[in-house]
């Protein structure tokens, strides 16, 4: 592609000087010939050598995807701005209140002591021209590729449609105008069997203290995820000499909800077999599911609320 691109490198110059452009194939000498007929009788001829190759035909059908989002590329382009440039993958889904969420996806390494920052962008339904997806669906795909196709769509001022299915099935991004239509197919991460994440161990996550009360499962709400319950747990384990009387509380035993990843939840490590035609499945951290779905395995009655919420959001 590089040699072909170099012919059209300076758009401004091309617009000013080129009157016509002929592209032809010279089969005998295996050359793609690009002739630029410019002003003042100047002709620039580029002979680019090519090789015949087998073309791979991807088999996909946007119509077979149950979920569709459509929005101007500009909206989506703005939506990916807050994510760090080095971020590899992003999760796209629909949450409570029909809001579209983009969330940074972090591969969790068992031995990492330094966690990465998690960024989430939430866009209202009104910004979308079409939103045909239920709350709770989500897929994860490569952000770098997504940024690439977004910048193309933005430059052509087009809308982008995203057709997706269950995690693991490809996501199809389409753009269309009178001159062209484009289909970009990206692989999505598949999630491991949710049952296998149903751990009966209460393995603590490091470096947090071993006692942990589960707060009421409403993680999507900014007002309800106070650090209080965690802090109270920490205080009791540190045997602090403070005079504050701490209420006693019970730890809810039993399966951890699927939304708690941790170094010890990686025992379901048996390599899943690869399905031909799909990328090797990676561990799918259902951090995202945890925040938007009602918990699939609801933990026991939520532990008593230990500290009053401060005033709800205005």
């Amino acid at each position: 592609m590089k040699s072909f691109l170099s012919v059209f490198r300076s758009l401004a110059l091309l617009e000013k000087t080129v009157e016509k452009c002929y592209i032809s194939l010279n089969g005998r000498s295996s050359r793609l010939v690009v002739q630029l007929h410019c002003k003042y009788g100047v002709r620039k001829i580029h002979n680019l050598s090519f090789q015949d190759c087998e073309s791979l035909q991807a088999v996909f059908d946007p119509a077979s995807c149950p979920h569709v989002l459509r929005a101007p590329a500009k909206v989506l382009g703005e939506a990916v701005l807050p994510f760090p440039p080095a971020l590899a993958e992003v999760t796209l889904g629909v949450s409570h209140g029909r809001r579209v969420i983009l969330r940074s996806y972090q591969e969790e390494e068992a031995d990492s002591t330094v966690r990465a920052m998690v960024t989430e962008m939430s866009i209202a339904e009104e910004d979308f021209q079409q939103l045909q997806a239920q709350e709770g669906v989500a897929v994860t795909f490569c952000l770098k590729e997504f940024r690439g196709l977004l910048s193309f769509a933005e430059s052509a001022n087009l809308s982008l449609s995203i057709h997706f299915d269950t995690p693991g099935r490809p996501a199809i991004f389409t753009i269309e105008d009178s001159l062209l239509d484009g289909h970009f197919v990206l692989a999505t991460l598949s999630e491991p069997d949710l049952q296998s994440q149903d751990l009966s161990s209460q393995q603590p996550r490091q470096p947090e203290p071993p006692l942990q009360a589960h707060s009421t499962p409403n993680l999507d709400d900014f007002t309800n995820d106070d650090i209080d319950s965690y802090m109270i747990a920490m205080e009791t384990t540190l045997a602090s000499e403070g005079s504050r009387a701490l209420p006693s509380f019970s730890i809810s035993p039993g399966p951890q909800p699927p939304c708690s990843p941790g170094p010890n939840s990686e025992d379901d490590e048996a390599e899943p077999s690869t399905v031909p035609g799909t990328p090797p499945p990676k561990k799918f951290r259902s951090l995202f599911f945890g925040s938007i779905l009602a918990p699939v395995h609801s933990p026991q009655a939520p532990s008593p609320v230990l500290a009053e919420d401060s005033e709800g959001e205005g």
Binding site: K74, V75, E78, A79, L81, P82, P84, V114, R115, A116, M117, V118, T119, E120, M121, S122, I123, A124, E126, D127, R205, P207, E208, S215, L219, F222, D225, D226, I227, D228, S229, Y230, M231, M234, E235, L238, S240, G242, S243, R244, C259, S260, P261, L287, G290, S291, A307, S310
Partner: protein, 280 residues
């Protein structure tokens, strides 16, 4: 333990972002101390930091329209958390076109400082960006190492020259030597010196003002011509200078001969103190 605060004013938001960018340049990991009236960014003088320490203080009411905090206990109404400074400045960077910014301590799978920004979008619909910055809560028994450093009884106190000029000088000096001598006297003269086997380079700054002296200070009976000097790691000085992207409202340095240099800056209403110890 609770913390939630909101910045509603664009000017305050930009100022807070600038301070955060500065802290990110001065320290990789630092401590944030939250108390009812103030926020402090702290770097304690551990060996890991090369003995450099930092104390940055801002009055919360100059920034936040809403501020609620509840410390570890009633007698210790403070919160100390450790975070990667760059995460905060990256999170604030997305708030450039924001209507409002909220910060809150949360526990989403791990303890976080959650920054939530309401963005202005082309359409009138709301767009919200949330950043969960992972933090470590610092237990009370370690708080004693994170208190405001005592300003030493210094020999010389002098106003600094334009920091950008100092920075460009020190940047060039860094290529020649790893150590630098900073010396100053009470006559408003400050020199930056490097010495190697091949070459000695000194940059002289003159006519710098002298800050008013506290009575009883060590420098009172001192000969105004006599220089007090400190030999320091040039990279540490450069890191400090590089962090000052904006010209401070006030900038002075205090030198204790052969012991430590203390930089005392004021960026509008935010104070920054930075200590670089002498190399043995």
């Amino acid at each position: 333990m609770k913390f939630r605060a909101k910045i509603a004013d664009t000017g305050c938001l930009n100022h807070f972002t600038r301070i955060s960018n500065m802290i990110a340049k001065l320290a990789k990991t630092c401590t944030l101390r939250i108390s009812p009236d103030k926020l402090n960014f702290i770097l304690s003088d551990k060996v890991a930091n090369g003995g450099v320490s930092m104390w940055c203080e801002l009055e919360q009411e100059n920034f936040f329209s809403e501020f609620q905090m509840e410390g570890i206990s009633a007698e210790n109404n403070e919160i100390y958390i450790e975070l990667t400074a760059e995460n905060l400045s990256r999170a604030l960077k997305t708030a450039q076109n924001a209507k409002a910014l909220k910060i809150k301590l949360t526990n989403k799978h791990f303890p976080c400082l959650t920054v939530s920004v309401d963005l202005l979008s082309i359409s009138s619909s709301s767009r919200i960006v949330t950043h969960d910055i992972p933090i470590k809560v610092i237990p009370r028994k370690l708080w004693k190492d994170l208190q405001e450093p005592v300003v030493p009884d210094f020999d010389v106190s002098i106003y600094l020259p334009v920091l950008k000029t100092m920075k460009s000088v020190v940047e060039k000096m860094k290529n020649i030597s790893s150590y630098l001598i900073i010396e100053a006297n009470l006559n408003g003269e400050l020199n930056l010196k490097i010495e190697t086997e091949l070459v000695c380079v000194t940059t002289h700054f003159k006519d710098l003002g002298r800050p008013p002296l506290a009575s009883g200070s060590a420098s009172q009976g001192r000969n105004p011509e006599q220089m007090a000097e400190v030999r320091i790691d040039v990279k540490k000085l450069l890191q400090f200078l590089a962090g000052q992207q904006v010209n401070p409202t006030k900038a002075l340095c205090n030198i204790v001969n052969n012991k430590i240099v203390h930089f005392d800056l004021l960026h509008e209403d935010v104070s920054l103190q930075y200590f670089i110890p002498a190399l043995s």
